[in-house]
């Protein structure tokens, strides 16, 4: 459903992403691995339309390269950035409401989805009137994932969902990612925690210095003894 060809992102003179190509089939969970600075987050932001990039991005055959992020959302792409970016002084409920901005006229559907999110994340229901900035890191991560799901995306871009969270919370987050995959959502997951990511993913790409250094089935990548080598180069 997603086909990225020769994606390039530059920050001034620095090329963060240099000709990355990747594809995701409907319902697939693909993980994007690599060391810090390998270009993973830039790749995701560029696909979401939030970073200027060269190359083509096709979604279900439609060329969506260079589209604005708001248009991408309407097309069915939702992004959870690594910086989480909850709206700190808005309540949990308001954060969720904005997640459904692109389909705000469907009031019944939005209300039903909100209820679904509260079933999925009971903590959010308890805290729905609380300012999002006062939530713990794990709760904020749940909130941003729930907020992204409120747009009813077909493709979810998840950037480092386990970053800075306690191990038990990380397990919960990964269990939930697996659950979303079972529900049929297509997911592109960027992770530092390679073993966890490979355990839930169908396929993986390893980025190094802005280029795809390896790709394959998650099990193959996990078994490859040179994973460390791929990460660190040499």
């Amino acid at each position: 459903m997603l086909e990225v060809t020769d994606l390039t992102v530059s920050y001034g003179a620095i090329n963060a992403v240099r000709g990355v190509s990747l594809r995701l089939a409907e319902g697939e969970l693909v993980t994007l691995l690599g060391a810090n600075g390998a270009g993973k987050s830039s790749t995701l932001l560029a696909i979401a339309g939030a970073l200027k990039s060269a190359g083509t991005v096709r979604l279900d055959g439609t060329d969506v390269s260079g589209w604005s992020p708001e248009r991408m959302v309407r097309q069915g792409i939702a992004m959870v950035p690594e910086t989480r970016d909850v709206f700190p002084d808005l309540t949990v409920a308001e954060n969720l409401l904005l997640g459904a901005y692109a389909r705000r006229r469907d009031r019944d559907g939005v209300a039903a989805d909100r209820q679904r999110m509260f079933t999925l994340f009971p903590r959010l229901q308890e805290r729905q009137e609380q300012a999002a900035g006062t939530l713990s890191g794990g709760e904020q991560q749940m909130l941003v994932i729930a907020r992204a799901l409120m747009s009813r995306p077909r493709l979810l871009l998840l950037d480092e969902p386990s970053l800075g969270l306690a191990p038990t919370i990380v397990d919960q987050i990964f269990a939930m990612i697996a659950e979303l995959k079972r529900a049929g959502l297509t997911i592109l997951l960027v992770e530092q925690n390679a073993s966890k990511a490979l355990a839930v993913a169908d396929r993986a790409y390893v980025l190094r210095l802005g280029k795809v250094a390896a790709e394959g089935r998650a099990a193959e990548i996990a078994a490859a003894s040179d994973l460390e080598h791929l990460y660190l180069g040499g």
């Binding site: 979401a48 709206f87 002084d89």
Partner: protein
Amino acid sequence: MQTLLQFTIDVLSLGGAYALMALGLVIVYGILKLVNFAYGELIMVAGYGLFLVNGSGLPWLVMAAVAVLIAVVTGVLTEYAAFRPVRAKSVTAVLITSFAFSTILQNAALLFISPRPRNVPLPDLFSQTVSFGGILIPARNLITIVASIGLLLLFAFLMKRTVLGIAMRAAATQFRMARMLGVPANLIISTAFAISGFFAGVVSLLWIGRIGSVTPGVGLEPLLVAFIATVIGGMRSLQGAVLGGFLLAFINTALNYLLTQDLLQFRDAFTFTLVILILLWRPEGLIRGPATGQRT
């Protein structure tokens, strides 16, 4: 007791006007992290709008609505002319284009109307006084209090209860994230400028209601007031702008009451000294607002 009542009403009416001025400036600053230096001219064009429709025979409220509408349209035009073309490129460029737009509007008023003050139509109510609790109060002060408190409440309600209002608050802290949820950047920015124009239009009616006439430079003082009020209140916060407006009005009014005739001509020096002291104590302003806030 009477002095206290008089003082309170003076502070509230001046503070209401100041708070509206500050809100109009900070609503744009909050989203774009840029000061719109053409803000004072929005106040001016509303004043000239009122002057131009004078003699049309329309009821005053209709003329006032036309004047406010002119300010709203000019606000949105400011965005299209001075901000949108250079917004993504450089902060310096936007500073210069907003100054340029301000100068163009002022010069247009000088050239096409007159450098001299022009009288604007005002309803008789503006020059009447009301006797209350043993003191005489100009009715326009009461109108200012009622109008500003009403607008502040309405504004707070819209920002809290409507999806667009919530989206605007979100965009003020995490603009890119708001866009990644489908909130259209241009809609948010244009709305901010329209609201800014609306406040400027209302301020213009209340402000010119005090002085009775409009000049090309009439917007300078409100711009300065709005800027100082937002700086002491906290540039990132809407509540801060309102608080700053009322605080500045309190300081000015208190100085009016306390200073002797000789010292009154130096009132601004006293005011700014106090502003400096406040900023030394709270450099970020009284209300800090959310810490993040990337420029767009």
